[in-house]
């Protein structure tokens, strides 16, 4: 039966991705959006959008009833779950069907089986799919012997787990019990299910997965592999196809195995069978019963539209010939751009994304993003901003294009992992295909996530910012705007602008006189052009081109070298007072009635310290912060002058 209107029970880039195919297929679209997502691109792009009141995922994108109600209210006839949220929730899939809607996804039973790591492994070994030796944890006593039978190192894993939660690596038998306890607690907290199992741990394995596709006519195909070895905190950040580790034979073998796996659960639709690959052997890890985040790399090497195939299969159509005998062309790599700080344990960061743009000059580039200029990156959802996918006829070409696109991207907002991504794909090891799931662990993250611009280059960016700011001030000047910048009849002094960037402070002193612009401390500097947003110059005959954007005191300077954020410092630094922080002054002349504290006392913020009488009124002097009393300059009955420091509270 034909689908005419699809509700996407998701947000961000994947919702937009599904809408794009829907538009091409002339299928009407419905978005759902939470309160923080009002006005976000996915909500605006759909033909209709339904509000899911609330902010937390539980209230909104995980709220099965609300999502189905939205589909019914908008007369949608199918639901696409995207990835994450309700996509692997068998109950939801059943509810969708019960509501008379088409579920664009695999059968609920397949979801259910594959949702359990233990059950799926069991099923797979029965179907002769290679799995890692593993044992479900039963009684306490069994633990040590179970571990011994597998052999160390061992991975303690939660059966319901994902995303690295409830997972522990154990190298030393003595650590086993502690690891189990910790994993149990974590699993119980995260999934409400503390079932654990032990699995052989591979220390240098690649993560290679096979994209499979099945229709309702008994066809199951493999759309080749994706290697997703580069991970941080057990989450993929770089994915590519094909994998350098596979040859035709192993590719065929893994594909066949993946098909076996899919058939074992009567799979329908798009699915991914994940394997660990080491020394030519591969082991079933799990099957993801949904469209993967990294599906674009498969699309780019096969030329197929996986969302279109999903919809067609859901409509009951057989897979088209190009999917039944797929071909692989060239190479594609995806990088996941996150709003996060790699140097601070990859913690997510939030804020306004003023500008988010990639050059349209790069061939073979695809950017699937959930945000646009002005979007808020909020605390509520996954901090993934976009997937940047580059393809090329060779892996090298794809790497080059990806790095170029990332370097040159205008990302004006919260900190991202961009520089890390560029450094990874440009690393020698990556070029050599030496990738495994511990790639990041093996590298010094300080170096790998270091700003793309070194100190010298960042200074050049600061020079560009100073000159662009200069041009902007001249443009905005309401008087004498046509007189040359910084013109003097009595000898020029350099103008001065200071910026703080990741590499430190840059004090730029520039002198513009006639056609000559000089930068203090910069030999062989030649300014070619300068506007408020673009600066071009040469240093030692090397040509530089910078683009400068300003948001209040913040500057984003973009170039082919990379980008940097610079903070403009005030011309008038705050006067340093030699007075201690937390000094409390007498608000007016008066008499001290009582002093409630003594030197050395610990006080709370807001606590009354002393009382002053002035103009027949009593004024309570309160602690501005929690801390210790380090100074008292008055006592009861004292007559004090206005502004006298009465008492000093120092932060502990």
């Amino acid at each position: 039966m034909a689908i005419s209107k699809i509700l996407v029970a998701n947000r961000g880039e994947i919702a937009r991705r599904v809408f794009r195919t829907c538009r091409e297929m002339e299928i009407a679209t419905v978005a759902v959006y939470s309160d923080p997502d009002v006005g976000e691109p996915h909500a605006l792009e759909a033909d209709e959008a339904v509000r899911l009141p609330g902010a937390t995922p539980g209230e909104t994108y995980l709220n099965a009833k609300a999502v189905i109600d939205a589909a019914i209210a908008t007369e949608a006839d199918a639901i696409h779950p995207g990835y994450g949220f309700l996509s692997e929730n068998a109950d939801f899939a059943r509810m969708v069907a019960e509501a008379g809607l088409t579920w664009i996804g695999p059968p609920p039973d397949a979801i259910e089986v594959m949702g359990s790591k233990i059950a799926s492994k069991q099923l797979m070994s029965e179907a002769d799919v290679p799995t890692l030796p593993s044992i479900e944890l039963a009684g306490l006593s069994a633990r040590k012997s179970a571990a011994m039978s597998i052999g160390y190192p061992i991975l303690v894993k939660a059966s319901a787990g994902g995303g690295g939660k409830g997972m522990r690596i154990v190298k030393d038998p003595d650590d086993l019990l502690n690891a189990i306890e910790a994993a149990k607690r974590e699993a119980a907290g995260a999934f409400g299910d503390d079932t654990l199992f032990l699995e052989k741990y591979l220390s240098a394995a690649r993560h290679i997965e096979i994209q499979v596709f099945a229709d309702t006519h008994g066809n199951v195909v493999s759309l080749f592999e994706r290697e997703c070895s580069i991970q941080r905190r057990h989450q993929k950040i770089i994915e590519e196809s094909p994998s350098v580790a596979l040859d035709d034979r192993s590719r065929k073998e893994m594909g066949k195995t993946a098909i076996v796996a899919a058939k074992a659960v009567d799979y329908v639709g798009a699915g991914t069978v994940e394997f660990l690959f080491q020394d030519g052997s591969f082991f079933f890890l799990e099957m993801n019963t949904r469209l993967q985040v990294e599906h674009p790399v498969t699309e780019m090497v096969t030329g197929l539209d996986l969302v279109r195939l999903q919809i067609e299969v859901a409509q009951g159509s057989p897979l088209p010939p190009e999917a039944l005998s797929p071909e692989m062309r060239g190479h594609a790599i995806e990088a996941r751009l996150y709003a996060e700080d790699p140097l601070n344990e990859f913690l997510p960061v939030t804020g306004t994304m003023h500008r988010f743009a990639f050059s349209d000059q790069t061939d073979g580039l695809r950017v699937d993003s959930g945000i646009e200029n002005g979007s808020e990156v909020s605390v509520h959802y996954d901090p993934m901003l976009a997937k940047v996918i580059a393809s090329g006829s060779t892996r090298q070409e794809a790497i080059g294009r990806l790095a170029t696109a990332l370097r040159g991207a205008h990302i004006h907002g919260p900190k991202t992992n961009r520089d890390l991504l560029v450094r990874v794909v440009e690393s020698e090891q990556f070029a050599d295909g030496e990738t495994d799931t511990h790639f990041l662990d093996r590298h010094d993250i300080e170096k790998l996530a270091a700003p793309l611009l070194n100190e010298e280059e960042e200074r050049l960016a600061a020079i560009a910012a100073a000159l662009a700011d200069q041009a902007e001030r001249r443009r905005l000047s309401n008087v004498l705007g046509t007189i040359p910048s910084g013109w003097r009849n009595s000898g020029s002094q350099p103008q001065r602008s200071s910026y703080t960037g990741p590499q430190g402070e840059h004090d730029i002193r520039y002198t513009m006189s006639g056609n000559l612009t000089a930068i203090d401390g910069q030999q062989d500097f030649d300014l070619i052009s300068c506007t408020p947003h673009e600066v071009e110059f040469t240093v030692d005959e090397i040509h530089y081109h910078f683009e400068v954007a300003r948001y209040g005191q913040i500057r984003f300077v973009d170039s082919d070298l990379g980008s940097t954020r610079l903070d403009l410092q005030s011309r008038f630094p705050k006067a340093s007072t030699d007075e201690a922080v937390g000094s409390l002054h007498a608000p007016m002349p008066g008499k001290v009635i009582r002093v409630d504290v003594m030197e050395g006392d610990i006080v709370k913020a807001g606590q009354v310290l002393l009382v002053l009488e002035a103009m027949k009124m009593e004024h309570a002097i309160k602690a501005p912060l929690a801390g210790r009393i380090t100074e008292i300059n008055c006592q009861a009955e004292d007559q004090v002058e206005a502004d006298l420091v009465l008492v000093v509270v120092s932060e502990e």
Partner: protein
């Protein structure tokens, strides 16, 4: 509108000679400017810095908007005198928070910023500029007070600045004093007579008499801080309105003060396309002849000064020894009156008189460019009424109410200086090239005239004329006049607002015109009785 061409041939011998001579002159000029910028010299600058203080020009640089232009005035005051070059004070026009302001900064490294006759002249002049052009006046104060040995030339004349400050205030022209250091005795009235006073903590000292004087006068023991510290004036006397922790904060406060003036200029502002001249300004160096007796074509200066080199000439073929016409500089409409051939004849005087009236009808500021040896003399000219015609021109110039800006480009002798809105006619600004000359007449003529009169006197008394003594006297007088007519002599005495590099002409005039537009730009139709 016609675009001016150029007849300059940079390869010609004449051009090369002119250029070489001008470059030598400008090198000398630059060296003097540099010397003036050094204020009190290395030692005192270092001492000042060691105290954690900013130099006068650094204070100005921080006060004005970043990247905005600054026109310094009378930089070479006190040249050739026993006082320090620059006269211990820096003045100029700069943009503060988008407002063009007159700025005065004492230079405490130079004789402790004390005020001699030239400092007083510079101070009074910047106050006049503030008043005539309606520019807020910002004073960056740190002065040791009157240069006591020069008190005879300072005391009476200098008292005028007290009056000026309060009159500016009365006119609604805001005045600000930012006190960075000593401002005592007479200087104490600076913050007191300004609308706003900012004082820097532990630096500003504002009192009528210091501790020794108080001790002498009343026997009272006191400290600097008690008598006039910033903290005392901020908390007790109320003389200080803004209490700054340091110099940077004081300057920021000064900028904040200006930003709340809610300032609107009253002139009609630029109305024309401010495109650059099409001719290379650098060629100006070869335009002005080494021998100022050789006239030069003012169109060559205009073609490198006015917008797009466009010039609409008035009366092209009448009275050709004066060039008149309309143009614009940095978008500001102007009328131009420029001497073409030195001598002013009746036709020229009448042409200029008409033109000045027309500029007044159209509220158009006038730029006067001097290269005149004065009004024509001789039987024929006297009988045809050259005095009456010259008087008409003087009448028109004297009573014209549009802003005048005077540029001393060549020589300026005799009544020609008056007719061309010389300094005594209160033009808004007077600028000169370092090569210009100004006197009642040329040194040779003056010496010759004196010689003839002496000879006639001797003859009348029946004495024998001492040719030898006459020769010596002529040489001496010529030398004296040559000294006095040179540009540095008059700029030393603040008879202009500064000497400029000819290549800066366009921007200097542009800033001056913009300043003039801070006040209303309106002409008049009332003049004195014109003799016909």
């Amino acid at each position: 509108m016609e675009v001016l061409g150029t007849k300059i041939d940079p390869r010609s011998e004449e051009y090369q000679e002119n250029r070489a001579a001008m470059e030598a002159k400008l090198a000398e000029f630059e060296a003097l400017m540099e010397q003036a910028r050094q204020g009190g010299g290395e030692k005192y600058i270092q001492r000042h810095r060691d105290r954690g203080k900013l130099l006068a020009r650094e204070r100005i640089e921080l006060l004005i908007d970043q990247d905005s232009p600054f026109l310094e005035l009378s930089t070479l005051a006190a040249w050739g005198t026993d006082k320090r070059l620059g006269a211990n004070v820096v003045t100029g026009i700069g943009v503060v928070e988008g407002v063009e302001c007159a700025i005065l900064a004492h230079d405490p490294t130079s004789q402790a910023g004390s005020m001699n006759r030239y400092s007083v002249a510079k101070t009074l002049r910047i106050m006049d500029i503030a008043r005539e052009n309606r520019l807020p006046l910002i004073n960056l104060v740190e002065s040791g007070g009157a240069d006591l040995p020069d008190q005879a030339e300072v005391f009476i004349v200098g008292g005028k600045w007290f009056r000026n400050l309060t009159q500016l205030s009365k006119m609604g022209i805001p005045t600000v004093a930012i006190v960075f250091g000593s401002s005592t005795a007479g200087g104490a009235y600076f913050p007191a007579l300004c609308d706003y006073a900012v004082m820097v903590k532990e630096r500003a000292k504002v009192f009528l008499g210091g501790p020794p004087l108080v001790k002498m006068a009343t026997g009272e023991e006191s400290t600097d801080e008690e008598l006039g510290g910033a903290e005392m004036h901020s908390k007790v006397s109320g003389l200080s309105d803004y209490f700054a922790q340091d110099e940077h904060e004081a300057i920021r406060m000064g900028r904040d003060i200006v930003s709340h003036f809610n300032w609107r200029k009253q002139g009609y502002g630029p109305t024309k396309d401010p495109d650059e001249p099409i001719h290379d300004v650098d060629d100006l160096l070869g335009v002005i002849p080494t021998d100022l007796r050789v006239p030069f074509d003012m169109r060559e200066i205009l073609g490198r000064t006015v917008d797009g080199s466009r010039f609409e000439e008035y009366k092209t073929v009448y009275g050709t020894s004066i060039l008149t016409g309309w143009a614009s500089i940095h978008g500001f409409q102007i009328g131009v009156v420029a001497n073409q051939q030195g001598v002013i004849f009746s036709e020229e005087a009448n042409k200029a008189t008409e033109f000045i009236q027309l500029c007044n009808r159209h509220d158009t500021p006038i730029i006067f460019i001097h290269n005149t040896t004065g009004y024509m003399v001789g039987k024929d000219y006297e009988q045809r009424g050259i005095i009456k015609d010259g008087a008409k021109m003087v009448n028109a110039v004297a009573n014209s109410e549009v802003p005048h800006i005077t540029l001393m480009a060549g020589v300026s002798y005799g009544a020609g200086n008056y007719g061309m809105s010389g300094r005594s006619y209160d033009p808004r600004f007077v600028f000169g090239y370092p090569t210009h000359k100004v006197a009642v007449m040329g040194p040779k003529q003056l010496a010759g005239v004196m010689s003839i009169i002496a000879r006639q006197g001797a003859e009348a008394r029946g004495e024998e004329f001492d040719e030898k003594a006459d020769e010596a006297r002529r040489t001496a007088i010529e030398a004296q006049i040559e000294e006095e007519e040179q540009a540095y002599f008059s700029t030393a005495r603040v008879r202009d607002d500064g000497l400029i590099d000819p290549r800066d002409t366009r921007h200097v005039l542009g800033i001056a015109l913009s300043a003039a537009h801070s006040g209303p730009v309106e002409g008049t139709d009332r003049f004195g009785v014109f003799r016909m």
